[in-house]
Assembly symmetry: C2
Homo-oligomer: 415 residues x 2
Amino acid sequence: MDLTINSDRLSGRLAELSEIGRVGETGVCRLALSEEYKDGMQLVRKWMDEAGLETRFDNFGNLIGRLEGKNQGQPAVMLGSHIDSQPSGGRFDGTIGVLGALEAVQTMRENGIQPEVPVEVVSFCDEEGHRFGVGLFGSRGILGSLEPGELERADEDGVTRREALTDFGADPGKLQESEYDTRKISSYIEMHIEQGPNLQEQDEPIGIVSGIAGPRWLTVTLTGTSGHAGTVPMPMRKDALTGAAEIITAFNSIVQTEAGAPTVGTVGDLKVYPGGRSIIPEKVEFTIDLRDSDLARRDEYEQQLREAVKDISEKHGLRHDISDDGGTTPKEASREIMDIMSEESRTMNLTPPVLMSGAFHDASHMADACGMGMIFVRSKDGISHHPDEYSNDEDIAIGTELLYKTMLRLVERTS
Amino acid sequence: MDLTINSDRLSGRLAELSEIGRVGETGVCRLALSEEYKDGMQLVRKWMDEAGLETRFDNFGNLIGRLEGKNQGQPAVMLGSHIDSQPSGGRFDGTIGVLGALEAVQTMRENGIQPEVPVEVVSFCDEEGHRFGVGLFGSRGILGSLEPGELERADEDGVTRREALTDFGADPGKLQESEYDTRKISSYIEMHIEQGPNLQEQDEPIGIVSGIAGPRWLTVTLTGTSGHAGTVPMPMRKDALTGAAEIITAFNSIVQTEAGAPTVGTVGDLKVYPGGRSIIPEKVEFTIDLRDSDLARRDEYEQQLREAVKDISEKHGLRHDISDDGGTTPKEASREIMDIMSEESRTMNLTPPVLMSGAFHDASHMADACGMGMIFVRSKDGISHHPDEYSNDEDIAIGTELLYKTMLRLVERTS
């Protein structure tokens, strides 16, 4: 494929950045605000400077590179992602979005195109959330959406986020100065690895994201009666685990009611009390993670699950409790941006599938502030958060080309 | 009911013994070979002495009280159970069998009956097995059925069984001297609380045990593929927990194929790996406890379970492994002793239900050596191994009366 962007430069930078915090042959450990993170962010800043962007770190630990448009007062088109990783992460998650965005803007400058409106490339701080237990820090930060007490959360060595930010060079006492007036952002575009197997399955290099699923989190507790596994006849038992097993099976069916729908439902953890080979389980606790891009369907399935919990508990003589562990509403991508992506894909002789994102991204919160668009790049075997995470250079280049073309369309428009 | 045995003496002794190691109002902690155990055994020995039995401790920590018969060389009729308890046990488990046996023999003496054959009352050491992790020690000991290394097993304070036996006054270097020639025992009768809810359910004070179920122990491990709970579409998942749930449901049906059969099947413990709310379970391990008095039926159900594990694993794309954790064969009560118990019950205007024992007892191993019989006494709500364990004095007295009458029939017979 003929590409406008410089795919060699892009893949060279990806390789170079992957050396910072490298673990083994292919892994990366670049926890937010760590030394490796700082080194990585400095390298990206150097590349941004070379590309002619005006760069700065803000007080959330974000790196921002700005290119002024012909109309300086106009809202900016923002492109970005993150370069922090999980402790045993891969080289592509987040990183391709930051370096792809830089490549797109650099290509535009090299081609002598001056945008009508400003363009910003953002490398957001602590998307992953491993170190302090809560992620999407930088993107929530610029939108004024942090929770009380977040700065006091400590990592496993007892270092608080406040201390880590200070050590990074940010001033956590002046966060408000780094918040954005959302009227100053018109749109946010993020390229990211899919972290799922759909594109590989469909043999497509890239996809267009329709929205980010909103997870619904619950914990179900069933309580029956313990007893000796040898002495209590089956018809007299109130076994919490046999009840849980039927509920898990029912939940698995409920979320697959509509063939082809993107709904996913997971029981990721389950604990049995007291948990002995010869003791009838008295209590079982298990988690529910239910995600959908369609909130009405998610609500309907949650209701069906609640009915199944009630009916199956009654059948087994169990008490049940469902605790509400929160969740978020699904976020929709901008229809307009999706249409631009589709049109530009056709000029590249591509018809990217339209996909839901089951995982969160910095785009999740940006969607509350402006038009949001995402491009997914094929992930080998859907693996992420693991050294085996892999997307090939060609697919990343194709995604970056579409990011470039989409950006060009957006920066032509003044409000 | 008119009773031959002295029910006031019996209930008085039960109350007095329950003070040794008492915890709270109704609980008992009398771990094998502990100080409380020693005090309890000394008290029982004193009562045996008062009843005119010839008493001794053996090298397994058992207490044996013997009454000679007219024919001293004849095999003995043995009655017994245990007085050690679980850490938070009750007052009745085991104890009623020892004190009931003593009451039966003492009544016989007081009525001037000299048996044709010797009678022995045994208070077996460490039936419960909590302290050193393996129970039925004394009854296995006298039959020469200990496993290699049992004397070196340590309790949580690092005290080995060998040390505890020595401290108790036994000589663990001379165990063989305490083994029985099984030709010297004709039959073994044990009265025990039911530890299950059947007699309460049927409103009967006592039951006749048909056999002791043999448990079959397995551990099932299912291995699928982990993944992000948001990004892997349902049809592409290999979720070990959804497979396990279906197997547990299938197992629960299999063991209930024959309505009214005593088969019981329990999944008492289950662990999920890695066990996070938003991670598809990669591996699940769960235990199987399958018990039946009918070995052929138990084998058939085990086979059906193995097929279900295979089929359901294949359906979900999971690898499966079934590890064999052993078990024992079911033990049958002596038909002749059961018949005697039924006949004697009729003279008491009782028709005790015939029950399987789902739990082990000292009788389990004695059944290998001689004719075995057991009488169950109604347990309130089927509770045992808990301070709430309760059987009322009247039911215990009725059970002891049947024990007495059964013993009288057995001691009349010479071989």
